[in-house]
């Protein structure tokens, strides 16, 4: 039972990271990026190209991947955000879905469909206590999530640029009016959003292996988590993610493993019915 908790939380942390990347972009430009899962996949494969194909040390592979993903984020912004400014929401959704299809199939062409493994940045025997096994990598996942949350919090509240980003998120037009370099904040949001998913990919590949279609399911869970926590609500997303990881794991164990994917949606629908703005409420309100 304790083992289920550990595994559920590890899985949930991945979901939380995907959701965080998603929300960073959403909070700034009101776009839900349905290709966030494919960005995760891209991060995993860039990492593998560095660490496995070119046999660079894992730490360097991580560094290169993060830089590369930031660039990917900005390219993504240019291709998706600028052309679609002001268009109705579901056209944007369709566009990001189409981008996801493009990325996934390009990955299939470049890297082929065979699953590949990525070594974890941490080594060592697993920790055992009270009948529960926690691998070093799982500990690393928890640690990474904690560090990212801390850095994100400090950045957004204590640095000047971070505060500017929050202002942009609250009201883009007014922010522009008062001279905030809005385009720069948007670019940073996309870049960081992509980096967060890239990191999730680097964390996932050592345990789940990487293959080009891995993004679809993980991305979807990331959205579900965002909805459960309340769109725009960062702490909500983290709690939602961990919560979903636990629900899936316990549900698969005690209810039925057949419907594992459905649990995410059932919980999401249940939450929406009871709390239409998510468990912790959204940040932004509907514009008339």
């Amino acid at each position: 039972m304790g083992q289920l908790v550990v595994n559920g939380l590890a899985l949930g942390s991945i979901y939380a990271l995907v959701a965080l990347g998603l929300l960073l972009i959403f909070n700034t430009v009101q776009i839900v990026n349905f290709a966030q899962g494919q960005l995760l996949m891209l991060g995993a494969f860039i990492g593998i190209s560095c660490a496995v194909t070119h046999e660079l040390p894992v730490a360097m592979a991580w560094a290169i991947t993060m830089v590369a993903m930031a660039l990917v984020g900005i390219v993504f912004m240019v291709l998706v955000y600028f052309p679609l400014r002001g268009r109705p929401a579901f056209l944007v959704i369709l566009t990001t879905i189409a981008m996801g299809i493009v990325l996934e199939n390009l990955a299939l062409i470049v890297w082929g469909p065979l699953p590949v493994s990525l070594p974890s940045p941490v080594r060592g025997p697993p920790v055992r206590f009270a009948g529960v096994v926690v691998s070093m990598h799982q500990i690393f996942i928890f640690a990474t999530l904690a560090v990212i949350l801390l850095l994100q919090f400090l950045f957004l509240t204590k640095t000047r640029f971070g505060i500017l980003m929050q202002a942009t998120a609250q009201d883009l037009h007014t922010a522009r009016l008062v001279g905030i370099p809005v385009n720069r904040t948007i670019a940073v949001a996309f870049a960081f959003g992509a980096v967060l998913s890239g990191i999730a990919g680097l964390l996932v590949a050592p345990i789940f292996l990487a293959e080009p279609t891995m993004g679809g399911s993980l991305g979807l869970k990331g959205f579900v988590v965002s909805v459960i926590g309340g769109f725009g609500n960062l702490p909500g997303a983290v709690i939602g993610g961990l919560f979903l990881g636990l629900i899936e794991t316990f549900g698969a164990r005690y209810i039925s493993s057949n419907f594992r994917d459905a649990y995410a949606f059932i919980v999401m629908i249940a939450v929406l019915v009871a709390w239409p703005r998510g468990l912790f409420g959204e940040k932004s309100s509907e514009k008339v």
């Binding site: 289920l4 055992r128 279609t213 794991t249 493993s257």
Partner: protein, 387 residues
């Protein structure tokens, strides 16, 4: 005046006609074939089943190229047309319709059972021999006399795996874990039925979606219910994850399953410790052969297609050569080919012999494998009961 009696004329004409007919018949086999013998192949080349589907193309194409390089069948080259079924059964049906346009002599279908189910009716109507690797037991129970299967099927696996586990390995409380698609669930049902016949009931029956990455919940359930072994049915990508996660969780169970456990793509992603000891029963794979010719064949296939050959590659390769030997005997006549296929007896393929049964199944020999570290070893061949 030249007078030939009617009787003489008729006799003469009949004699000439008969001799021409006899002479023609002797050459009927080669002469009845067009200069380019059309073979059709439908398989998944794109989509989530492509990893599996391309093995059919690899095996068949490799054989066709080899045969053509050697002069073809009785001097006539084979023209292989391949159509991509994609991932959905509707697309598979469209692909088959396209193949039928080209009026092929024979059609090879893929190993993906839902696709073959979708295609059978239209192929049967066209009265073309249809050779498939699809493993769902019911594929050959559709009542089509044109459909033949040249790979072992899940019905056989469902019988042999429980029997080997209980009688040879002596385990009586297996946990069952299968991928939740047609392949895995069909096999899981068959295995449960076979276990019931052996008066063994499984400790737990679990499944996972094909795209699932975390199977720890299912593994923990199997462990908690005190299973003494694990029957694992999936594709290499997910079987790799199950074995890895079993190791991570410290669960030690005798594991037996389908060929995915010894597949090269699985072993490439496992450590020696993780892979060691796993059993597999399935279509015979080329990796364990010590025959130099087979090892050379495997290497050439891998060099050409960048993916290691598996049991399906072998099966489709054999199928093309089987067709060659039949066409050499009976010519390019579809009903004759069909009849010859139905009468196949003891035809030696690369690793096994083929023999047709009443339902159209030609493969009845499977291999039992065990991983020694990252290398699969052939424990021995095992035949379906009655063979």
């Amino acid at each position: 005046m030249f007078y030939v009696s009617l009787k003489t004329s008729v006799t003469a004409v009949t004699a000439i006609w008969l001799s021409v007919a006899v002479a023609a018949d002797a050459k009927a086999d080669a002469a009845s074939c067009p200069s380019s013998i059309p073979f059709g192949l439908t398989t998944a080349l794109t989509g989530n089943l492509a990893l599996l589907g391309t093995q059919a193309r690899n095996g068949a194409e490799f054989a066709v190229d080899e045969i053509n390089a050697g002069g073809g069948i009785a001097g006539k080259k084979i023209a292989l047309t391949t159509e991509d079924t994609g991932a959905s059964s509707t697309d598979a049906l469209n692909a088959m319709n396209r193949i039928l346009e080209g009026k092929p002599l024979v059609i090879l279908g893929s190993m993906i059972s839902p696709h073959v189910f979708a295609q059978t009716e239209v192929v049967t109507k066209s009265e073309t021999p249809f050779l498939v690797g699809a493993t769902n037991a019911k594929v050959t129970m559709q009542g089509s006399k044109w459909l033949f299967r040249t790979h072992v099927h899940d019905g056989q696996l469902a019988e042999l795996i429980p029997e080997y586990l209980v009688k040879t390995l002596g385990k009586t409380r297996p946990g069952i874990m299968a991928v939740a698609d047609d392949y895995g669930l069909g096999a899981s049902k068959g295995i449960q039925a076979a276990l019931a016949k052996l008066k063994v009931s499984p400790a737990a029956v679990a499944s996972y979606a094909p795209s699932d990455k975390d199977m720890s919940a299912q593994l923990l359930e199997i462990k908690d219910k005190d299973a003494d072994s694990l029957i694992l049915f999936g594709r290499p990508a997910d079987v790799t994850l199950v074995i890895k996660q079993m190791n991570d969780l410290g669960i030690k169970l005798t594991t037996i399953g389908n060929a995915s456990i010894v597949a090269q793509t699985t072993l490439n992603n496992l450590s020696a410790a993780e892979a060691d000891g796993g059993y597999a029963i399935g279509g015979m794979i080329p990796q364990t052969s010590t025959d130099a010719k087979i090892m050379d064949w495997s290497k050439r296939v891998q060099d050409k297609y960048k993916v290691p050959a598996d049991n399906f590659t072998v099966s489709y390769y054999d199928t093309v050569y089987l067709l060659k030997s039949i066409i050499e005997k009976v010519g390019c006549n579809k009903p004759a080919i069909r009849d010859a296929l139905a009468a196949t007896k003891d035809w030696k393929g690369m690793l096994i012999s083929y023999q047709a049964d009443g339902q159209g199944d030609l493969a009845h020999t499977l291999g039992i494998y065990r991983n020694k570290g990252k290398t699969p070893e052939l424990t021995g061949p095992i035949k379906e009961s009655g063979y």
